[in-house]
Symmetry: C2
């Protein structure tokens, strides 16, 4: 125990084992656990999304009723008494967890209650006049966004996001899959981490709306296939090796208690279908949420991340694919990269006379550069002639290009006397990372279009979903070929379309029914390891606008 | 620690706390727990029943299949791959517990397996060629009888019974209900006791058939309403107070895991409907099992116990009732009474010249008298003029009638020098207990017949179900009015009809479907506390044959 520690902690804290990490010296290799909640800055978490405007048709039917107490003349059982009142004897059954409380509640509430029915099952009874709550969740690998909804009105009562607690076992999906496969009990542990995260999120959403998690009558969770599997405790080994198949792709309606979620006694959780091992229910939710945008023409729905999912809608057919676009767009594998949190440079503009302008998140002191900033940097450096078409940084092309340890880099924010923050640069290696990512995305899009015999100009709408996609500069992305060269008016950045889709599935049984029809229109195109993809990839590594033959198709 | 204890136990036993009960002296009021398995003799447990001969139509459909492994060209998800093979994509879903193992098992078994489907759900996958096991259970308050069945052939592979572990909390239903209501956590404890008993029973049945409990694909459990509720963890307070209503009366199909039973991953447990608070699913099972006997005429189905259930089938209508017939017929509240276990006197005959003949179970040395013996005794004493019509024991009527402490009793087995066992007598109080029980049963039967306007002679068949009913002497029961005076050929003692009914529900979906129709024919007649019952009861206390007007109806 050092003097600094004695000063920093109270007697009790010291006794319960608190020490200063900065005073500890590892005596051997060690693993440092940083809980998500202790991250120094809050990551920018996107919970907004397009507004919902659909006919309300939730899976939960709520019926207020006043029941005749049983008598010796009519000694009818409690459950049947209630079912008769709601005109459902024989056609509806009562969940066993509801049965365990029903008799007590009926008497406590003096035979007045609200019954909540899903399909042919009574999933909850609540005091008369209770509001029916539903939960929609977008389960991302980094963040978990939740929405608490009033199923009667469709109103979003609270929305909030937390970090996915699985991050402590790996930032990216592959690391987590490996952990689940290789660690004893790893699969259960991963499922438990998400479950605890979901309960924490549900708890704080409910607290905000004056409810309890036991009041949640229905839930929808969307995530990519790996997140879906890791949450349900499904095996993931077969996801990680060719031919990369999910354990299940159809939609699931599971008792919340069967996956450890403590919602209303008989509540279900709905999980939309997965398209393939790397095109998950979150993409299906995004397709559902944006259907109005693309259903009357040709369109493209893109969600860019470490893994990028793309669906091309051409002449009524939907072709989906995915590609590994790397972590550069999430700020990783970039020397001065960081997540989209305050102080991250998110926009960059190289003006005349070698002037550099940038914007940071929350206008905070710059401390690094996030995905949209990296993309802007590469595009602007390219347009300014600092990079050639091949992505090579050119010595002497700009005063800020310097050579350090034999490698060129572009100093975006210099180290200065009056700044506390670090110097922030774009290195040649950073440019290569972006090139690889954008090449994968571009190659996937081009193969999709070629396969379907459609040219970029025939695309009426390009829908860019997801957090990163909401912040990127379309022109910059177009300049390096990551997006097809089209009038800006054809692009739509829709934010968290997956979250919006989740809310739609919660509020509309019709949307759940329609998802089978949607899926039957989807053809999955596997690109991983195909010669077409390798060939296209070599071409698309060049930093130049998309050159697909404008007369094709 | 006494010297006797040092001698009786090993060092380790003494250290782990073993002591001799006979050396312990209670220092205050105390409660003694006698585990069922330590009872000195095994109770006679009835697991036989009428044989089953019906078209096999189990709820479980088993499909053997060989699946094409997925490929890059056809990267279909594992669950959908299987569902497609069994021609059920879209119409069948996979239970979440099955999904958790499916991918691993498919690869382990080299894409060969047997799929087990119930309704529209895949509830288990097993290695190719696996036998489909089902479990039928008659959950009595005293014993739990189980049958392990091959669902493909209908064969009973093993049958066995254990004591109901709840006995340690009370021999009779009312004591257990009170325990469940009044003790903190009592309801959960009662449910856990049955659950553990069921798993123990299932385990030993499976061991006998070379299977494991995880191989049980479907189960049926029948019990009276209180046992049904106590097993499911349902509230029982409303069962114990007027108007004595169950929490639920309809049939239930519950996931085994939802009631803590570790059968096949997605297995269900089917519980037939209850008719009323004191006419349970076991009676429904008995009605189902004996349907062939009574469906083409007028009939009566009786199950005699502490609570006696009676159904009268008259002109196509079924009227059911129940009455509290007391514990005398199970050997309780009788001074020298005991359960039907070896050494219990089960048959008594008073011959000429005051000769007494009796038979004990297993022809063991007599140690007490069980239910059927008590009934015989009262009837024979009545016929021999030892008792008058009113049940009064007559001094001097028989050499064995003696007066002890001012009360008359009939010595059945005298204390003798060459016998180790005790003296066994019938006391005046014992006679009163039997009178009360038989009066309740007779009153209930008579009111049923009067209500439906049918005379005893119109009854074509009297079906006596249950353990006690299998051993009673019909003539003796008739002589004191407990059964209507009819030709002996109209009586049928069918043994454990409830257990047979449980097996029927396991092997025949048609029987499950038909039970709703059966129930719709049943009218429940509540007798408790009605003036009609009190009036009839006063009359039926007399020990004489049933005198219902033979011209009624």
């Amino acid at each position: 125990m050092t003097a600094a520690e004695r000063e920093a902690f109270t007697e009790e804290e010291l006794e319960s084992g608190w020490r200063l990490a900065c005073q500890a010296y590892p005596q051997d290799d060690c693993r440092v656990y940083v809980p998500p909640e202790s991250l120094s800055t809050q990551q920018r978490l996107q919970v907004e999304g397009t507004e919902i405007d659909i006919p309300l048709d939730p899976s939960i039917r709520s019926v207020a009723c006043k029941i005749e107490p049983p008598s010796l003349a009519k000694p009818v059982a409690d459950a049947e008494n209630l079912l008769e009142k709601i005109n459902a004897p024989g056609s509806v059954h009562v969940d066993i967890q509801v049965l365990r409380d029903l008799s007590t509640r009926l008497r406590e509430w003096n035979w007045n209650l609200t019954a909540h029915i899903q399909d042919r099952e009574l999933v909850a009874v609540r005091p008369p006049g209770s509001r029916p709550f539903g939960l929609a969740v977008d389960l991302g690998s980094t963040k978990i966004a939740g929405y608490l909804i009033d199923l009667d009105t469709g109103e979003t009562l609270a929305s909030r996001a937390i970090m996915n607690p699985q991050i402590s076992k790996g930032e990216d999906i592959i690391t987590r899959i490996n952990f689940a496969i290789q660690s004893p009990g790893g699969r259960t542990l991963m499922a438990n981490m998400v479950r605890e995260g979901l309960m924490e999120l549900a708890g704080s959403l409910c607290a905000e709306a004056g409810a309890e998690t036991g009041d949640i009558l229905d839930a929808v969770i969307v995530g990519n296939t790996a997140m879906h599997h890791l949450m349900l405790g499904l095996p993931v080994r077969q996801l990680a090796i060719a031919p990369f198949v999910p354990a299940v792709s159809g939609d699931l309606n599971i008792k919340a208690r069967d996956i450890g979620l403590e919602f209303a006694p008989g509540a279900y959780v709905y999980l939309p279908p997965n398209i393939a091992g790397f095109v998950g229910a979150d993409h299906v939710a995004a397709l559902t949420a944006t259907g109005g945008e693309w259903d009357h023409g040709n369109g493209m729905v893109i969600d860019i991340g470490t893994n990028t999912e793309i669906s091309l809608i051409a002449r009524g057919k939907i072709t989906s694919t995915s590609c590994a676009s790397g972590p550069a767009f999430e700020g990783y594998q970039i020397r001065d990269g960081m997540r989209a949190s305050p102080g991250a440079i998110e926009k960059i503009y190289l003006g005349r006379e070698d002037r550099i302008r940038y914007k940071t998140i929350d206008d905070a002191e710059p401390i690094g550069i996030c995905g949209s900033g990296i993309l802007d940097a590469v595009s602007q450096l390219c347009l300014a002639g600092v990079l050639d078409r091949g992505g090579r940084m050119l010595e002497g092309s700009h005063p800020q290009v310097v050579k350090k340890n034999g490698h060129l880099e572009f100093i975006l924010v210099p180290q200065e006397e009056d700044r506390r923050g670090p110097e922030i640069s774009i290195t040649q290696k950073d440019v290569r990372e972006v090139q690889l990512g954008k090449a994968a995305i571009q190659a996937a899009m081009e193969i999709l279009m070629e396969t379907e015999g459609i040219s970029p100009k025939e695309i009426d709408k390009v829908i860019i979903a997801g957090a990163f996609g909401s912040y990127i500069d379309i022109s910059n992305a177009m300049a390096i070929g990551m997006l097809p060269s089209l009038p800006l008016g054809r692009f739509r950045q829709v934010g968290n379309a997956a979250g919006t889709g989740a809310r739609l599935f919660l509020l509309s049984s019709a949307k759940r029914k329609a998802v089978g029809k949607l899926l039957s229109r989807v053809k999955y195109l596997e690109l991983a390891g195909t010669p077409e993809f390798s060939k296209a990839f070599t071409r698309t590594c060049l930093l130049e606008p998309c050159h697909l033959d404008p007369n094709a198709g």
